[in-house]
Symmetry: C2
Subunit: 420 residues, 2 copies
Amino acid sequence: MAKYNALYAQSGGVTAVINATACGVIQTARHYSNQIETLIAARNGIIGVLTEDLIDTSRESDEDIAGLRYTPSGAFGSCRHKLGSLEKNRAQYERLIEVFSVHNIRYFFYNGGGDSQDTAYKISQISQILGYPMTCIGIPKTIDNDLPFTDNSPGFGSVAKYVATSIREAGLDVASMASSSTKLFILEVMGRHTGWIAAASGLASEQDGDAPHLILFPEIAFEPERFLERVQQCTKKFGYCTIVTSEGIRNQDGTFIAESGLVDAFGHKQLGGVAPVLAKLIKDRFGYKYHWALADYLQRSARHIASKTDVEQAYALGKTAVEFALAGKNAVMPIIVRESNHPYSWSIGEAPLEKTANVEVTLPTHYITPDGFHITEKCREYLRPLILGEDYPPYKDGLPHYTKLKNSALAKKLEKTFEL
Amino acid sequence: MAKYNALYAQSGGVTAVINATACGVIQTARHYSNQIETLIAARNGIIGVLTEDLIDTSRESDEDIAGLRYTPSGAFGSCRHKLGSLEKNRAQYERLIEVFSVHNIRYFFYNGGGDSQDTAYKISQISQILGYPMTCIGIPKTIDNDLPFTDNSPGFGSVAKYVATSIREAGLDVASMASSSTKLFILEVMGRHTGWIAAASGLASEQDGDAPHLILFPEIAFEPERFLERVQQCTKKFGYCTIVTSEGIRNQDGTFIAESGLVDAFGHKQLGGVAPVLAKLIKDRFGYKYHWALADYLQRSARHIASKTDVEQAYALGKTAVEFALAGKNAVMPIIVRESNHPYSWSIGEAPLEKTANVEVTLPTHYITPDGFHITEKCREYLRPLILGEDYPPYKDGLPHYTKLKNSALAKKLEKTFEL
């Protein structure tokens, strides 16, 4: 049986566990060395394929590949490059085939979110339309948890654990300061279009009065007066108020709150985060002393507090992707299927890439309380298992010891370069 | 031998380990129950003493008191109230004595930073000046690490571990995004007057090219052109640039950078953090896509990634404070004494409160590299031991399980109330 090479690439915003998926892919490819010659990685996602900027992962030790399981972010680099349609960008696809062909690549694994699954789908069509024999498997990844078919997306569970832990901790802090100092704390989390991450913070609140007291979702139009009323009620009742807001909350007219307030010294609008705009709104009305935090990349790279469930699922999806390819499947994405909540169990299923690409799943209405400011018990039931378990990285000298790969370049074989 | 009650209170900004000190105080007081009747806590620091808002900690189970060791923030509430001078505020001091006296309190433990040690010192003078027999021990605590005499302050080691871990993780994230997206990341950390916390982030950088690439300290006047030049050099060399900045960096004329840029829609100056001001400065010059994070309270409450060394020292200082009091010491503060760096060892010494109050220790010049943008090997040697070891809290349902005390109020005995 002829052996071919496989290519793996990472795409879109990275996560705390996307390298656990890489670990699953590479370890499984090594296991099936009778069928896969070399696992090649593309540097910076599909850009690395187009520019023939490839990495020979066989130069990495087993130990370093195992270390990927504990290492956040994208070990081979990621990108936000989208492939155009085959009809209008034929030269791009011909270039891809040139690179695949000259490097004997017949398996392609693309690890990313919705946009990236669109790229994976397009590449999966190469064999049918352009006649190059290619097996393409998409592997889900997104902290936003907005992919269809899969019960949840790798990367989300760890962000969820981070934001719920962080608001619990900061909530205790504010509670102890509130009598003579800070009465208001706002944590801004990611989520431009969907409120999954903000929702996850709600898990920290188990009893009446626990942080977060209010959650703001992009799915719910922001009404300043209703919001201010609730902040005041909360502060009167508990002595302080903690809020988690999605970065993407909008006014009734659809404009982002984050864009509504600040201008720089020259009068230009300044996207400075939604948290300071809300803090100022509250301060101006009630005079409460406030603090706010913007977690930004900290939340999605926080491997030190990753969810064990998330790590295991990320790894399993990488492993299964290779098994799918070797079983002759094409144009599919392995997905997480929830089998039961009590006790939590899951298995791996599959979904067609064609229907996965460019679909964005928002928070269902019945996951948000009727007042729009918190999560329902149904939502908790869904979220709870995803943050279960701790999976600490090794530490050296007091800091997480993350793996740095050599990322040795594979020798280029094509004379032509390619301009993006 | 007559038995008296002891009072413990928390003051100033809280930390991830101030409750470990409370745990040390209470467990040790319980151990010496032949000499200390009841360990009373004041709600919200010295305010709780003035208003006779006291907590009977004997109502808490041994298990819950043990849980304080794992619980961030101030379990009894904190405050930012300063006592005025004895000469001008005699009524306050007479009130304190009334409360102490009616509750049979002869030991006072005040747990806080520089301002709080000033309060502790004033109370320690009560016996001498006002004739009330009081033994007062200050217990150090501050994330800012700016107290004199003590080698380091409890709370700092855990923030140090948090910021170094966070910039290491976020740095890996930016590295993987930089080729086609984010090239600049700025993490803003606490430190209004001193750069200890920002300096600690430098521990994450072990090899040339590791994050953080640049560190900005309040001790060094900010020079935009020199800074921009370094940012550009770094981005050209490594493909991206990560920066950690103290909130308190200033222009040459002494004004805060955080106050220099943004105004709200009404033209009012907006203190929105220094990170967005720096990001905009760089974006305007070089056009780099940027992200920034503001850790705020998350950094000082992050018990989930506390330094084991920090927790152990915080506990030991609480324990020793009680032992000092029972040994008849007054007006002193137990401190950390560094015995050796390799291997790290420490012991507990003492310092007079009189000389401790209101002194702020800044980062020594030889801890900052000559260019002003990073830390020296001497600084690393000092910082490294403080973040050593992990001390994870217990988890329940995927989240840290922190202890909530009952905080039962002690019955008031005074008829008079007191207005602050």
